[in-house]
Subunit: 363 residues, 2 copies
């Protein structure tokens, strides 16, 4: 970690290590003061989130059984996301899920030269191009039949939560680093947040097997694997999304009559998570946040996925709140990641107060 | 170079070094025998074909001027391609040209996480997908308006040349390494050769800037560069193709209303080459080939491009024939390249006889 002025730079400072160490400071602080912790605390630390958290889901299921580690936990609090903005603290009640796909088109066992052979074979990349053109249209609208059917309409209560949120679109555009605000799909706060949190979307990430370096090549790849993912929202089931996508692409591919082979796979399927925020657990988190920051925390959702949240919700049925400590511009889990000193210190305080607030529940 | 049985393995054995050395053996042989070469011989050797032959075009133009190196050359013979099949020698009278394009879609200065930001920005890869879907349709048909307008119909004489050609579609499918013959666009000889030699086609080679490794990523690239090329045929002008492609993609892109930026460039433009094969030069090449191989050479064209051919044709207006020595399965200019010993030795003999046949012209 490198300290530069008021910022702590280093991979994991905001997404992962910073919040984990913060919980440890809270426990150490009670020890140093000679005070008892106000509630029993159990820590569940995942060091493998970026590589799929292999085994966590099974572990959580096992430990949720009667008599095991998680069986007597009343409230969960997860610090794995970020604030929506730079200044206002947040408590988070929802995440999108993720269905990741690969669609492999294979022609043969060797790459071919487009001069010698172009025109005489059904090219893998021509098939991939046609498949890509079938996935999304203008404004990122997905073209897969029925894909939006399970998306719920926004309720009046939900809408009022959005109205209250502190979110500056100009600041957002700046953080995104876009050349022009025209690259935003929605200029307005509510529409943008809605698109980010509660609407599905499809991103094409790239192609494995095709030429990807700078410069020119004249290769026809023998196989090409299209990688794309769909962020899903509550109501959408990964298995159902997988079926829809697979059937749609297979039918489209048949209509190309290309003679090549298509293999569509969902390589990851994670449900969305949506929590009732009218609970003691959320009240405790909000109260702790207000005590430390002096302002009401915004109730937020996230567009990204944190699979452990879904695992805990399904295995335990207990209230889960997310209490982020880092700011939106931390570059969490990417290059130049940082955590502001103030976020770090106030985050530790908020976590400490959260334990005290939870202790008051039912008292 | 590695010798394995009757094959000489090594990069360049078939495409480049093998034929160059063959010409040198011919000259050395006359020297060893104490004989005069039957005609004056000038060698033009290009060692940079695979990296664009920088400077060759200007050099050829300069040397074609009165009194310079190429000004008194009567006939050109180029050994830079391969036989159509494995057994029958060829003399080649045409090449397709090549227009290579890059289309860059840029959104901003940093890659974004599809979870956090998906749905709120016009994604570069969505734009690229829509552009790709506009380029080609089923059976590789190009969708660019007017792109086929200058393609000439096959004449009766041309058609009879195709009838005579020794070409086995099953052997071709085997050499291509395709999993199924259904991956061929045309099952018949004449249609396949026509598609390969005298019809334009478009190949999408890949995308620079997007995820291309094995595994999963959830990145929205800040910029993505689509690379594709169009093989062009006689009648098609690179500058005209560049205009058509650029206008078409720009108009399509505007209809997406994405707010991102598109930059379309033709990064290479090489004309097609088509020579009159009813000339003394071709008769000399055919006679030499028959003397050595005992069979008539096939008159062939190539789907690939050899820009020096076009440079020589434009600068000198002299007859150019292509006299390949390697077989179609040599993997020329790619992995596991080889040259059969028999092709090498008979190639040298054919080149020697070609010089003697040329010496008879007008005698």
């Amino acid at each position: 970690m490198t300290v530069e002025g008021e910022k702590l730079y280093g991979r994991g400072t905001s997404a992962g290590k910073g919040p984990i160490v913060s919980w440890l400071w809270v426990i150490e602080a009670y020890g140093e003061l000679g005070d008892e912790l106000p509630v029993n605390v159990k820590l569940l630390v995942d060091g493998m989130k970026e590589v799929g958290s292999n085994g966590i889901d099974a572990l959580v299921k096992e430990e949720a059984k009667d008599g095991n580690f998680l069986s007597n936990v009343d409230y969960f609090c997860i610090s794995a996301n970020s604030w929506l903005g730079r200044k206002t603290p947040c408590v988070t009640y929802g995440l999108r899920g993720l269905c990741h796909f690969s669609a492999e088109v294979s022609m043969g066992r060797k790459d071919l030269h487009s001069g010698h052979f172009g025109g005489t074979v059904h090219e893998t990349m021509t098939d991939v191009a046609m498949l890509m053109g079938k996935l999304v249209g203008p404004n990122g609208k997905m073209l897969i039949p029925g894909i939006y059917d399970s998306v719920k309409a926004m309720t009046a209560e939900e809408s009022s939560v959005y109205d209250a949120i502190d979110f500056d679109m100009a600041e957002y555009a700046e953080d995104l680093g876009i050349h022009s605000p025209d690259s935003l799909t929605y200029p307005g706060k509510k529409e943008a947040l809605s698109a980010r949190w509660r609407e599905p979307c499809l991103s094409i990430h790239g192609i494995e097997g095709a030429f990807s370096d700078p410069g020119r090549k004249t290769v026809i790849p023998h196989a090409a694997v299209l990688k794309f993912s769909i962020r899903i929202v509550p109501g959408m089931e990964p298995s159902h999304v997988a079926d829809s996508v697979s059937k749609y692409l297979t039918t489209a591919f048949c209509s190309f009559k290309s003679g090549n082979k298509l293999d569509v796979k969902m390589t990851q399927g994670c449900k969305a998570w949506l929590e009732d925020y009218n609970t003691d657990n959320f009240e405790a988190a909000k109260a702790a946040s207000k005590l430390v920051h002096g302002v009401d925390a915004d109730l937020t959702r996230e567009g990204a996925s944190v699979p452990i949240t879904v695992s805990l919700a399904e295995a335990t049925s207990k209230s889960i709140c997310m209490l982020p400590i880092g700011a939106c511009d931390d570059n969490a889990a990417s290059a130049d990641e940082k955590l502001n000193k103030s976020n770090y210190l106030n985050g530790i305080k908020t976590m400490g107060m959260y334990l005290q607030e939870v202790a008051k529940i039912g008292a």
